[in-house]
């Protein structure tokens, strides 16, 4: 049994082993065995997330597990039950793995300290979203073979992005150079200590990138004066057709979804030949199967 609370704490060889295992879970792959038959995977989602929850659910069912969905709406959490009480109640139902999504950074760590089953972080606040980073790395590895020596540019609201943090840790562990780019109000301090490089000038670094990952701009941030407007953001940091022209010919475009079309990513680029966005979604199931297997075993 092992928790996946974040990419932090996972070594390169462990990440590679997990990604290699995910290969076997691709459609048409050799592994059709139901390794989690008779076991329960509990989805504990305190935040709206159709994409990630569905992906985990499909992954768990594909492994033969029974899936328990415990959401926010209508659940005891909305009646004021503490996170720990909810987690302990779910634990009493005997799951092999609790998959948790929560708006509070560190919520999975708190749960993991108090339950005996494995805990998988499906996104906690602005902290980490390790399964997303793993599926992004998986997608890039399928294209490139290895990430060694590649440059991945992550653009956008790094401050509030768990996807950015997990990808920074995961991609650098796998040998890539990661450059983070965004307005100064949305770039937190200390990213260099996590292995990243920081710039605020997109057009200067864009030609160096082998892949560009656009982060979703959370429009609710507008009320907090991090940015003047989405319009100005799109002008300075949006990946539009003109900018895509200046990328390396073979460079890829990723996005964790859901996309604000026309803000961080122009429709023509999102749907264009560089885009691997739908591959990311498809690969997500294979990667999450591997995660559930590794954590439950």
């Amino acid at each position: 049994m092992r928790h996946l609370l974040g990419i932090e704490g996972w070594r390169r060889d462990e990440l590679i082993a997990l990604l290699d295992r995910a290969l076997a879970h691709l459609p048409g792959g050799p592994d059709a065995s139901h390794t989690l038959r008779g076991r329960v995977v509990a989805n504990l989602f305190f935040e709206d997330s159709t994409r990630t929850r569905s992906s985990f659910e499909v992954a768990a069912r594909g492994l033969g597990a029974d899936v328990l969905n415990w959401g926010l709406v209508g659940s005891s959490a909305s009646k004021g039950e503490t996170l720990l009480d909810t987690a302990r109640n779910i634990e009493a139902l005997g799951p092999a793995v609790i998959v948790i999504r929560n708006r509070a950074s560190g919520a999975p760590h708190l749960v993991a300290r108090h339950v005996r089953c494995a805990v998988v972080n499906a996104g906690d606040g602005a902290h980490e979203h390790p399964s997303q980073a793993l599926l992004d790395a998986f997608t890039l590895r399928r294209r490139w073979g290895s990430l060694d020596g590649r440059t991945v540019l992550i653009v956008g609201d790094v401050q509030h992005s768990r996807v950015a943090r997990s990808n920074l840790l995961c991609l650098t562990a796998l040998g890539a150079r990661v450059v983070l780019c965004g307005p100064p109000t949305l770039i937190p301090p200390g990213l260099e200590e996590m292995g990243g490089e920081v710039t605020h000038r997109l057009d200067e670094v864009l030609p160096q990138a082998d892949a560009v990952m656009c982060l979703r701009l959370q429009t609710e941030r507008m009320g907090e004066a991090f940015l003047p407007s989405t319009r100005e953001y799109a002008r300075l940091f949006g990946l539009n057709a003109a900018r895509a022209e200046r990328m390396k010919p073979e460079a890829l475009v990723l996005h964790p979804g859901p996309i604000n079309r026309g803000v961080e990513l122009a429709p023509g680029v999102a749907d264009g030949p560089r885009s691997v966005i739908l591959e990311q979604v498809a690969n997500g199931v294979a990667v999450r199967r591997a995660i559930l297997e590794v954590c439950a075993s």
């Binding site: 950074s105 919520a107 708190l110 301090p189 200390g190």
Partner: protein
């Protein structure tokens, strides 16, 4: 009352420049004789053999949350006093941000009455600056001071309104009590759960920049200069504040400040993986801030070490980090954490005692803080090299929220004497209902 002779201890009395082996004779709650030569024990006197130990003015904590009235599940005046004397404190200043705010003589008198019942150490209430700590209208400082308050503070909250702060400084000069401030610009700290830095970034927590404190300290230095008031800055946590206070002192402003042991011991990395026992306001700052605080302890910028003893229950802390309540208990670990700076060669024993006893007494104009003839016999006996391990199960406080559980310490309080009466000895706090 019979007399007590402290024999052959190392007497450290910074106010009078004493540091050396002395005998100290106490009678009727006062120091009656101090001598480098042996003093003959009067008939019937209790003799405390203090060779190898420090005999120092009782520690005074300017910043303690006793939680009564209103949150007696966390602490009461009685349990807080027990915790205090176990930590070598002979006097504590009780913050007014109880559930029922101390903004009236009624609450001040209640705290004082509970303290008399506890009969362990001196308790000096601090009254609120503003009614209900709401930051809107001034509380009746005159009534509070005449009821026994020694300072006014909205601790736990800043006075955001600059005009109100200015008037509080002006008004308090009527009574010559310090205005004690919790410096936090709420617009800069909004939503923050810890210090803004590499650790908050790694953990994905909204940071509280140092400027949230420093900007308010800067504002208040300006107001202080204009009002000629008296300001005490509580729990200074960062380099920028230290620099401003140092400069203001140099210019002769009436400003004093305190630093909490956790702030000079730990930096923001102590949050680890969301340890709510490392969550407090102001937050643990960077390693660079810790060094600046230590330097300020040495050079005299800091007047007092104060614990900001903040008891909370398990349920307040066993939650998501950003929901975790701020604060840790500090009375029973303060001396040992200070001693770690002494053993580390940073603080002289004399300076350490100054920060724990003499300085706090001077800042708030309290009795004690020295051991000359005629001084109150508030005395702490310290075994400077005794090694021990922090065990929250053995705390006298009703709460156990500390990041120091399990930490190895060197330096321990062996006895605490208040007004000539032994209230803590051999690890035991004396029963409280006994008569004086």
């Amino acid at each position: 009352m019979s007399s007590v002779l402290f024999r052959r201890g190392r007497l450290i009395d910074p106010r009078h420049g004493v540091d050396g082996v002395h005998d100290v004779l106490v009678r009727d709650g006062k120091v009656v004789e101090v001598s480098a030569q042996p003093i003959a024990a009067p008939a019937g006197a209790r003799v405390v053999e203090a060779a190898g130990q420090w005999v120092v003015p009782g520690f005074i904590d300017l910043h303690v949350h006793l939680r009564e009235p209103g949150e007696e599940g966390k602490e009461t005046v009685l349990t807080g006093c027990r915790s205090a004397v176990a930590g070598g404190f002979t006097a504590v200043v009780a913050m007014p941000n109880t559930k029922i705010v101390n903004d009236s003589a009624l609450v001040t008198e209640l705290v004082l009455s509970r303290a008399r019942d506890a009969n362990l150490c001196h308790v000096y209430p601090a009254g609120a600056i503003t009614k209900g700590l709401k930051g809107e209208e001034l509380a009746e400082a005159g009534e509070l001071v005449s009821a026994g308050c020694v300072a006014i503070t909205d601790d736990g909250r800043p006075v955001m309104n600059a005009a109100l702060m200015r008037r509080a400084l002006q008004y308090a000069t009527l009574f010559d009590v310090p205005v004690m401030v919790h410096e936090e610009d709420l617009t800069l700290s909004a939503g923050g759960a810890m210090h803004e830095g590499a650790t908050s970034t790694r953990l994905g927590l909204r940071g509280i920049p140092a400027s949230a404190e420093v900007a308010m300290v800067a504002r208040d230095m300006i107001l202080l200069e204009e009002t000629k008031g008296r300001l005490h800055v509580a729990h200074v946590s960062c380099e920028g504040s230290v620099r401003l206070i140092r400069e203001a002192k140099r210019r002769g402003l009436r400003v004093t400040c305190e630093v909490a042991p956790h702030h000079f011991t730990l930096d923001d990395r102590a949050v680890g993986h969301y340890d709510t026992h490392a969550k407090m306001a102001p937050p643990l700052r960077s390693d660079r801030d810790v060094l600046a605080l230590r330097e300020a302890l040495v050079d005299g910028t800091v007047d007092a070490i104060a614990t900001d003893h903040a008891p909370h229950g398990v349920l307040d802390k066993q939650v998501e980090f950003e929901k975790g309540i701020n604060g840790i208990v500090g009375l029973e670990t303060s001396l040992a954490l200070t001693m770690s700076l002494v053993h580390g060669g940073l603080l002289s024993p004399r300076r350490a005692v100054e920060l724990l006893s003499e300085g706090p007494a001077r800042v708030f104009g309290l009795p004690g803080g020295h051991l000359a003839v005629g001084a109150p016999a508030d005395i702490t006996v310290v075994s400077p090299d005794e090694e021990w391990t922090v065990d929250v199960q053995r705390f006298y406080s009703r709460s156990r929220n500390t990041p120091f559980h399990g930490r190895s310490m060197k330096g321990r309080v062996t006895q605490t004497w208040v007004s000539g009466r032994c209230v803590y000895e051999g690890g035991q706090v004396s029963p409280s209902k006994e008569s004086r």
